[in-house]
Symmetry: C2
Subunit: 641 residues, 2 copies
């Protein structure tokens, strides 16, 4: 097919594009970001461009005024390329990824806001055999028979007929966008096209029809949208390979540390809109960085699967989360329909689809469902617990017969937020620490073996455990020792983990008493929630056979030390498995298999929610856990300091 050079100004970026491709599609291929809310339906009017040179054809629309037409202004989604072009993207049509200035974000997060960081996922490989490979978006190459007087089925029916010869598609849906371009497209491509099919609830949608065979380019993203951290993965939907994983702080963090403050902020003027923009910007940033690194055209990203807690998913979709925090804590929706990603502001192919993993309740969201899916506890015979340590901790107890979940508001300390030297588990984060008992000298290793920039969750677990063992802190978390690393400050004592000279930043890496208090409250919330859940079901810890620990700890978590500080129950190391970001792993399974998607729906329906706050014993249990490891040492028989 004939190709033309399209140059976008003021970026001065060029791309070769087939005749009759839309300018919007070419812009996306060129990595020039043009606004589009409606997914190329020609109704939102955000993607106006100015044609400087060249020939185009455009579809009728009621948006471009006669005056604008005189000035060569076109809707890029409805305008087709007929020659080499020079196109200007006016400021108003440019997609801004950064409506928050870095300084706004930096104010709360220190100097950590920058590019999203590569992370190495745990258990990343798609478990072949468990679910059939049937991705959320599938591409099928069709060589359609040319119509004749005897075979004069309509263009759309010709595609349906070919699809139904290839597989069992009881309900196929299509939008006007595809229908409107079908006539030219099929003839120009000589009836050889690639159809992208997306699973849309219990139907199949023709997402896109493209000329020629593009089946080798089919990519998707999965996300874990956390309150503090957003992690995303670029997946090749053909090879099932995870091409890259990145995580960064949720830009919403500038508006509050936990879901409650976010919900309150959403109720203020423009609050919902700003929170929505912040989460979109963060996700779009991860998408942009990963596709640039892997040299992938955004047009070839056809779908996104999101796991996240219920509040995050509400905010992503601009749905008011107000009732999540009002008795009886009912969200607007736990099960959301598949949407066009553009409707939620996520920039992939403008027609691409977005699926949110179904949640259970206001405080047990799709991230938990995805975790249950990827941990496999829903199909185990023996009793299991899944503990997902995040700003909202979630604990699920059960097996193939039942699943009960509760939520614990743990705060962001183990994600490295809200603590003096905290950072995410990314390059330069200290993740392993040991302290010499006599001189309090510190040995550490950082992710990527870089000069340290801060301490991540697993580093804090090691640090607390080592400080306890070395006698630097007492069981209440107060710093009681003295030495060159221990300093008095205005707000209490602090312990220097690395002096400035060793670090990659311009200050010492420290932990102070307020940090320890924060971490103690986090660990107490997780432990006591787990204990209450077990008790609520009339069980005791010894009856539990397997415990899966999930969370954004990077690749490393020392379970023994987590038990020592009283974060996890003292049940013997053999029962524990650290499974990393189980929400992201579940989302990637759903991205790669419709069977996994069906199973996620099934799991979310099966999980019973247990509201911790109504349990009369919870506050007692929490208070008792506000010690290292616990007030009642008989519960931690192996822990000795």
């Amino acid at each position: 097919m004939q190709k033309f050079k399209v140059t976008f100004m003021p970026d001065n970026k060029s791309v070769l594009a087939e005749k009759d491709r839309t300018i919007l599609s070419a812009a996306i291929s060129a990595g020039v970001y043009v606004n589009s809310v409606c997914g190329g339906d020609g109704v939102c009017g955000r993607c106006k461009v100015i044609l400087k040179k060249g020939q185009v054809s455009t579809q009728p629309n009621g948006i471009i005024t006669a005056e604008e037409r005189k000035h060569n202004i076109y809707l890029s989604c409805l305008t087709n390329i007929h020659s080499d072009l020079e196109v200007e993207i006016p400021e108003s049509s440019r997609l801004s990824f950064d409506s928050l200035t870095p300084s706004q974000v930096g104010e709360r997060l220190g100097s950590l806001y920058s590019k999203a960081e590569d992370i190495q996922p745990v258990n990343a490989k798609f478990k072949e055999g468990l679910f059939k490979h049937s991705p959320f978006a599938t591409k099928l190459y069709l060589e359609l028979p040319t119509p004749t007087l005897d075979d004069n089925a309509g263009d759309l029916e010709r595609i349906y007929r070919a699809l139904r010869q290839l597989g069992d598609f009881p309900v196929i849906q299509t939008g006007l966008f595809n229908i409107r371009q079908l006539g030219e497209l099929l003839r120009d491509s000589e009836w050889k096209v690639t159809v992208t099919l997306g699973k849309r609830n219990d139907t199949v949608e023709i997402v896109l029809v493209e000329p020629g065979d593009t089946t080798d380019k089919n990519f998707g993203f999965c996300f874990d949208v956390g309150t503090t951290t957003i992690s995303g993965q670029l997946v090749d939907l053909n090879s099932k390979k995870i091409l890259g994983t990145k995580a960064t702080y949720n830009q919403q963090a500038t508006f509050g540390n936990d879901v409650i403050t976010r919900i309150v902020y959403a109720g203020q003027s423009d609050g919902l809109e700003r929170l929505h923009e912040a989460v979109c910007n963060t996700m779009n940033q991860i998408i942009r960085e990963l596709i640039l690194e892997h040299n992938i055209d955004l047009n070839d990203v056809n779908c996104v699967v999101c796991s996240g807690n219920t509040t995050m998913i509400h905010l992503l979709l601009s749905v008011d989360p107000a009732h999540i925090r009002k008795d009886p804590y009912v969200p607007t929706a736990n099960f959301l329909p598949v949407l066009r990603a553009a409707e939620a502001g996520i920039s992939i192919n403008p027609r691409g689809l977005l699926s949110c993993v179904p949640g259970v309740s206001s405080y047990v969201g799709g991230d938990t469902t995805a975790g249950v899916l990827s941990s496999g506890i829903y199909q185990k015979d023996e009793l299991c617990i899944l503990i997902d340590i995040g700003t909202n901790g979630e604990i699920v107890l059960g097996n193939k017969d039942f699943l009960v979940a509760c939520a614990a508001s743990a705060g962001p300390a183990f994600e490295g937020s809200g603590v003096t030297s905290g950072m995410r588990a990314s390059n330069g984060a200290i993740q392993k620490i040991s302290i010499d008992k006599t001189g309090f000298e510190v040995k550490y290793s950082s992710i990527g073996d870089k000069k340290p920039k801060g301490i991540c969750g697993s580093g804090y677990i090691d640090l607390l455990s080592s400080m306890l063992e070395a006698g630097i802190i007492d069981k209440g978390g107060k710093i009681k020792a003295a030495g060159r690393r221990i300093r008095q400050t205005d707000t209490g004592k602090e312990f220097v983990v690395c002096f400035k000279e060793e670090t990659d930043i311009s200050s010492d890496i420290v932990i102070n008493e307020a940090d320890i208090e924060n971490l103690k409250r986090s660990k107490a919330a997780i432990y006591s929630a787990t204990a209450i859940l077990v008790k609520h079901l009339g069980l005791c810890f010894t009856q539990i056979s397997r415990i899966f620990i999930a969370g954004g700890f990077g690749t490393y978590l020392d379970i023994e030390k987590a038990v020592k500080i009283g974060l996890l129950p003292d049940l013997g190391l053999a029962k524990f498995s650290f499974i990393g970001n189980s929400a992201l792993a579940g989302a990637s399974q759903i991205l790669l298999s419709n069977q996994a998607m069906t199973m996620a729906n099934n799991i979310a329906s099966r999980i019973t929610y247990f509201e911790l706050s109504v349990d009369p014993g919870y506050m007692d249990e929490y208070s008792q856990a506000l010690f290292f490891p616990h007030t009642d040492l008989t519960k931690f028989p192996t822990v000795k300091f």
Copy 2:
């Protein structure tokens, strides 16, 4: 629920609206027409209004700029009423029904363009018993259990659960629009809501959720979108009553008389857009007039079913019809998905649905499918023919075992277009005529017994037959007699049917030799197409048991006279039934029953298309039919002049 007075300027129209209804919805209730393309999704930005007085709340959107916000500009679809309001609708947001000036239209159509006219449909009653009453849009009133800590299903799941207790809905779909407003709406209405469900292909969509019980207000429209005439019916979906039927000329007629000229025009710059606007304007005019007359709120019109020929449906949906007229005559789609009516520019409830009756091929459209449905020939044992006389005549031959259809380009003469004194079958149209054989004096009766304005199709059939019997014209259609009613003009002879003084217009009502030629070509096209179809199937006319005649002839058609002029075959009156506008009748059945919708899909799949122009005998047959009644008089044994 609390109500507020909302006044719209500059119309100075007021309406009482419940708290939290959107301004757009109130404007629609007030009969103030505000633009909306996206159906209230908040993405098209067409419905901006200026708030002059009062309190509102608005949802976040990226369309209203900070500058606009300062000037109190809001998107009316996303802005909720919180007090009495005064709202100005700026010119740019006003919905124009009349982008064509009456003079533009009048140029071609004489003085006939005005309001749509009431017509009395034949066979209008919904045939109870044949199809179950299950309208395209159904309203269900739900009293939802108030959520508690023990029953904390999400808002959306609570609705799904209640629906599934009422019926079998395997696949329910919902859009973000409804989800976004659910939280407030359910609580403000104390969990008592009405859910409007629409059949969307093989799924059910939650079209709308409204506070309180509004089930008594559920209306729909059905249309026959013809090349020359558009007819529409307002139907009460609860009582199954047709509340009113109106017809008017398709405003597209200013761009050409038949589908071929329209297709050519669509290929010109802006052509498709102007044709699309014209058909929408015409349909919206009929909708507006009928709801005003019946005092119905446009928000309570939830669905539209359209039958029409394939080109008309393409133009209605802004789909390029170019390939319909290019060998091998393949349309973009015969089976179209259910859409939101707003996507096609049809103004009903912004969330309301549009279904187009499926067609068979480029020249046998959904109007034929609907005609086959309403005539019932698809389930007869005996051989039947359905002849739909319109600008595109369609003939279907068959029974429960097979159905074959062909199309004849008859031109608009029998719809009263393209002939000197022609008009549609509406008030003041002469529909019955007899002529005294000696003095050529004319007796006539007009529709509504009004002073005559012109002659409609059935009037022309009577007139030609009477002129033949009186010896005024010969078998070739030339005026050969003389008398006070016969005049010579520059272009040939004419016969005066009514002198100016008797008429309601400022001129004589006449028929001239060019008109007779036009009518003769129309009748020859219909007759010869029917004859060739019968011959093509190896049959002869005597084997046909029943002949159904359809078309926009109003309530009257004299079959005997139609045989006398050679429009219909000479098979004995007992075999004929005049069934009026069968396409509209079929569309109304589909509107009222999903079973009929399924049957229409089935019928469209069953009909085999026969391309007349490839039959070697067709031109001969046509030429022979260019006489009154026919060159071969043995084919019309009962016709004597």
